[in-house]
Amino acid sequence: MDSDIVMVDDNGKRLDGRKADELRPMKIEAGVLPNADGSAYLEIGKNKVLAAVYGPRECHPRHLQNPAKAIVQCKYNMQSYSVGDRKRPGPDRRSQEISKITAEALEAVIQVELFPRASIDVYIEILQANAGTRCAGLTAASVAVADAGIPMRDMVPSVAVGKANGHLLLDLNKEEDNYGEADLPLAIIPKTNEVVLLQMDGHLTREEFDTAMKMGVTACHEIYEMQKDALRRRYSVAADEEQEVEE
């Protein structure tokens, strides 16, 4: 680790000009894929992510069916060309772990009890990766589930807080991540501030952890507004189209 790299300059600016608690530029568009029941496209910094939802639909394989509720299945996938060195197609251990915790976080808000025996299938494709893809994927997937019209208690915004050269920094980009000393991805239910996804690796003192959690929760609320905005735009477009048809 090269500690000469200055992560935050004298003016409190990071390598890309952001403040410590500032998100990268972000945009979300809902309803981008015709075949899926719901979908979303998200860019945050140099990450490009697609999420699609199919369901509730019949659950395959059948032995996974739950007579009391729908199951939520997720596949998080980094496309081969999304990273520096080409990634071989197919799931690796990292992507399987991310798929699991993403499905669990979504299940926390989806009203699965309304769809016994069904499956809700969430697909997250990372087209271009630049640190923070698991959070970007969950944020997008949450919009895609809403776009599919599946009843949810709330959405799930997600972001990571990092530590680099001793600084707690929100939403590390890849350059910063290369000097990262800790990473704390989390996702919340904004209405209650409850945490549905939480991971950590690295080194945080008790105090740093508390600060990082606060930064993360605050930023999740910012992201939540963008999620809602994307859905509002989507509904207004859908309403316009409907109106056109009626005219």
């Binding site: 199919y54 060309y81 299938d121």
Partner: protein, 257 residues
């Protein structure tokens, strides 16, 4: 690609329209859908393109690295083409390693590129027998509404045309454009009852009895063909499709410049 069944009503509707020379999306039998091509859509790729044929969407990306050549072609770079029919793109697609359909798609796209000599693989040799550029072409179906052959082939051609060899990452001098020699274009026709159509949608693919994919180069010469499905073509129909492929090839070649 194999689980869906088109209802009899839809099948009859498609057939009836075609007998009148029309299609569900109001195209004439020999019209292509609207085609869009965006290049450079993936910063992390050496070359990339997103292509739409109507609602069919694919992304192709090229990654390059230095590797050892095959023993029987010591002075040639290596091309590899993969196609992923990810479950995001269609309710029939399932997770898992490429199935027969994905393999056929990748191999047919690969043949069009390889047999036309589009990429000048000899100029991708660094040290004969030791070091050459490896080209990994990965194609993802993003939304599938028929005719992945043509959309995938066009995405690959567009990605290659705009690719830069990342020489500087490997201390091999400055980056330079991937050397391409020509622009092969792929066109697929399908036979429904006794009518030929081009650029079939998903529903039309389900209904058609046979499919023929033809790749032509800038001279109108044939570089690759693949017949599919269990129906048959007359020799005349094949000849007509070859003419169509040459004609549409010219059209599309203008789109991507």
């Amino acid at each position: 690609m194999s689980k869906s069944v088109v209802s009899e009503i839809r099948r009859n509707h498609i057939n009836e329209l075609l007998r009148k020379g029309s299609r569900m999306d109001e195209r004439a039998p020999l019209d292509l859908r609207e085609i869009s091509v965006e290049t450079g859509v993936i910063d992390t790729a050496e070359g990339s393109a997103r292509v739409h044929y109507g609602q069919t969407e694919v992304i192709a990306g090229l990654k390059m690295a230095i590797g050892t050549p095959f023993p029987d072609t010591p002075n040639k770079g290596v091309l590899t083409t993969s196609m992923e029919l990810i479950p995001m793109a269609h309710p029939d697609f399932e997770s898992g390693p490429p199935g027969m359909d994905a393999i056929e798609l990748a191999r047919v796209v690969d043949r069009g590129i390889r047999e036309s000599g589009m990429v000048d693989v000899e100029s991708l040799c660094i040290t004969p027998g030791e070091a050459v550029w490896m080209c990994f072409i990965d194609i993802y179906a993003i939304n599938y509404d028929g005719n992945l052959f043509d959309a995938a082939a066009l995405a690959v051609v567009a990605a290659l045309k705009n690719a830069m060899v990342p020489a500087s990452n490997y201390d091999k001098g400055e980056d330079f454009p991937l050397p391409v020699t020509c622009v092969p274009i792929t066109m697929t026709a399908a036979k429904i009852e006794n009518t030929l159509i081009v650029d079939p949608t998903f529903d039309e693919e389900m209904v058609c009895s046979a499919r023929l994919t033809v790749t032509t180069d800038g001279n109108g010469d044939i570089r690759a063909m693949q017949k599919g499905k269990s129906g048959a073509f007359t020799v005349e129909e094949i000849s007509d499709i070859v003419d169509l492929a040459r004609e549409k090839g010219e059209e599309i070649r203008k789109i991507i410049g």
